[in-house]
Assembly symmetry: C2
């Protein structure tokens, strides 16, 4: 048997089955696809053009960032600590008003995409204006992406009316229909910015193209109160009545959903994208994520845009989600390591409808992989590689990123001045680990 690449890893975490870690396994790659995962002891007889030995690393699928606003990278860090409306009205909206253009969206997405790849994210779902240019920036950086044909009840530099927004979205489907790196979603902004007639057009457009709908839902308490006042029902009930909820509905944030709304999401098979950093920093609140997971809702991870985060770091976001979720439900046994790493990968792919191609290390899937170094002082000792990956390692330990079997990020070992060598730290921790 001949393959192009063999990655011989300390551990492989395929994400299917959920939570499983395979020690001393190798991933075989040919023509950009995963051929198989085999014990490294059984690779004799396999010829490879390239053998990559990573004995201290864990290899897993690239992270999926299921909600972001990539162009906002160019506005990161403006107006920290302002009240929300002041921040929007005096900083973000005026800057967007001045800069909004295809070129702004392209260059912002190029920057964002590069940071995402360095953080181990190989697929992102964006929600912003000029999505054709967002897709150009993200794919030029090296990612796969879903981009949204946004629909919002306000005029922008991109479109003035619902029909113009819908028309832009319609063109997106045509533009990317033959691009294997880009998929298109319909992106109604939020229940409070899109009226019923526009939401019906959204549903029709999505049905026509068998596309996913990507929407901010139940982000804040005032959104809920506004919906009750204007429509007499809560936002998710309204979306359900309008026929938007299905397995192809991506409900972002969903911080304030009540049990009845969660039941609707569970029943229809919709996914939730959890963005804990943004929810905390904007003081939106504490999402009932453990409860959603117990109800069987598919929960994915998103960074939101860096204007309210300010990182695109799915590993860090997932670590926070795990810790925060335990505190919110007052139960340390919830938000288990394996479930959280699944949320950061295969659940994200599933939420976006990319799970036919990515999200797990399975035969035939795209070889979109990352390798995380667990041999550095910050992740030692390794009693439990998945736990060290989630809780101890950081995005700086993601040393290798492959997309379609091609390496796109490779961070070199630093030979600077350190208080203790890697070798000495490994030796000390191993000695004590062996005594337990």
């Amino acid at each position: 048997m001949h393959v192009q690449t063999v990655i011989e890893a300390g551990w492989v975490m395929p994400m299917k089955p959920k939570g499983v870690v395979l020690p001393q396994h190798s991933v075989l790659i040919n023509e950009g696809k995963i051929v198989s995962v085999v014990p490294s002891a059984e690779t004799e007889g396999i010829e490879a053009d390239e053998l990559i030995r990573l004995p201290d690393h864990i290899v897993l699928p690239g992270f999926v960032n299921a909600h972001t606003h990539a162009p906002m990278h160019l506005l990161r860090g403006m107006g920290a600590d302002l009240p929300l409306m002041d921040w929007l009205q005096t900083k973000i909206w005026p800057a967007e008003g001045k800069l909004m253009s295809p070129e702004f969206c392209y260059e912002g997405s190029l920057i964002a995409g590069a940071e995402m790849l360095e953080s181990g994210i190989t697929c992102a779902s964006d929600h912003y204006f000029f999505s054709e240019d967002v897709a150009r920036g993200l794919t030029e950086a090296g990612l796969k992406c879903s981009v949204s044909g946004i629909v919002i009840g306000f005029p922008s530099a991109m479109a003035k009316t619902t029909d113009e927004y819908i028309n832009y979205a319609e063109n997106l489907f045509e533009r990317f229909k033959n691009n294997p790196k880009v998929r298109v979603t319909v992106g109604p902004h939020a229940p409070y910015t899109v009226d019923d007639s526009a939401l019906i057009k959204v549903r029709e457009l999505a049905q026509k193209h068998n596309a996913y709908i990507h929407m901010h839902v139940d982000e804040t308490q005032s959104e809920i109160e506004g919906s009750l006042k204007q429509y007499g029902i809560r936002p998710i009930e309204r979306l359900h009545q309008l026929g938007l909820l299905s397995e192809q509905f991506i409900s972002v944030h969903t911080v304030k959903a009540d049990d009845k709304e969660l039941e609707l999401l569970a029943k229809t098979g919709a996914s939730v994208v959890h963005c804990p950093c943004s929810n905390l920093k904007l003081a939106s609140g504490f999402s009932p994520i453990a409860k959603m997971m117990r109800m069987g809702i598919n929960v994915a991870m998103g960074t939101d845009g860096v204007a309210s985060n300010d990182k695109v770091d799915i590993l860090g976001e997932t670590r926070l989600a795990a810790m925060l979720g335990k505190a919110v439900c007052e139960d340390t046994t919830q938000m288990k390591v394996g479930d959280m790493l699944y949320a950061a990968t295969l659940a994200g792919a599933k939420a976006l409808g990319w799970d036919d191609r990515i999200g797990s290390i399975e035969k035939g899937k795209d070889a979109d992989l990352i390798a995380v170094d667990l041999g550095n002082i910050d992740a030692l000792p390794v009693f439990d590689p998945a736990s060290q990956l989630l809780y101890s390692a950081g995005r700086e330990d993601i040393t290798h990123v492959w997309v379609d079997g091609t390496i796109v990020v490779k961070k070199q070992q630093s030979n600077g001045l350190r208080p203790l060598s890697r070798e000495k730290a490994q030796k000390i921790t191993k000695t004590w680990q062996n005594k337990i």
Copy 2:
């Protein structure tokens, strides 16, 4: 004028006054001490043995980790997701029982100290057994430290009775009285593990040596309920009645303190050490930090031990504290960037009684400094350097660490494969920044 070292930085954040960022300033260092901070345009005529130019960096005092259990580094990652008592009874306590020794505490602290320095922490306050060996490990790694003479109502490998614990602590004061890198605190474990008679001995020992008292207080609801049942009052009221509270009292966690207890802390001038990662991961709860800060309580940052965190990353901990604090008090204007970076530095030094020597960049203080690279793709663009430092940068961007004017960490630029060069990312972000 002649000095040994000049660090010419993009920005200097001295922490006194709180929140101030000085662009294009230089820090002058001689014989391990800070000589002055001057505009870089005014350094002509100053001769230096060494000029370090860091135009993309922000220079600030080293972080203070005001609460940790360094030797537990050797147990990191054991028993993730277990219920708290199972985790302690089946994993942590048996491992500690097997390994606990001076050598375990020395080697664990050496590892922990190295990771702390790489994370920009130059002073740590430890709370564990065999503190003489903890101090040996931390100082050998290169840190300054406070170490605790622990007092706990259970026998251990170190001591069997209160008097043996007190005796060990007494010897610590003698052992380190002439060591400029080590200070000694008295460390009663927690209100529920130390009885009144032992606490009175703690107070007497601290008074005799003019030492700080370092104690876990009000960490969980069950601790509060236990105190009410056993003593009829809440833990902080009890500590106050026993005469322990003062400006030299370090109250760690303090998640469940009620308003009356917070008033006692404020009135007596005690400090609180906030450990948000640990509080979330152990599902202890949500500390009312914004309220404490508004009441004028000195709030410092701590990582806790890695058995419940699992990082020693004060920058990350402070970022979480800021975001979490905004969500808890439902106000985005609280937990301001300048206040949070102060909590991570000078407030920590003040909490530990090290503020005569460290915690701010002031003439005569020790040159314990860090430089953080804000020119990487993960921190661009720089509208507000302090906000980028707290929210966008990570510990991986801490490239230089000095203790007593000597460089102890220097991370090399990596020349690996990246999607976008640093130069191109800087050029793109600068272009758009200039248009606003």
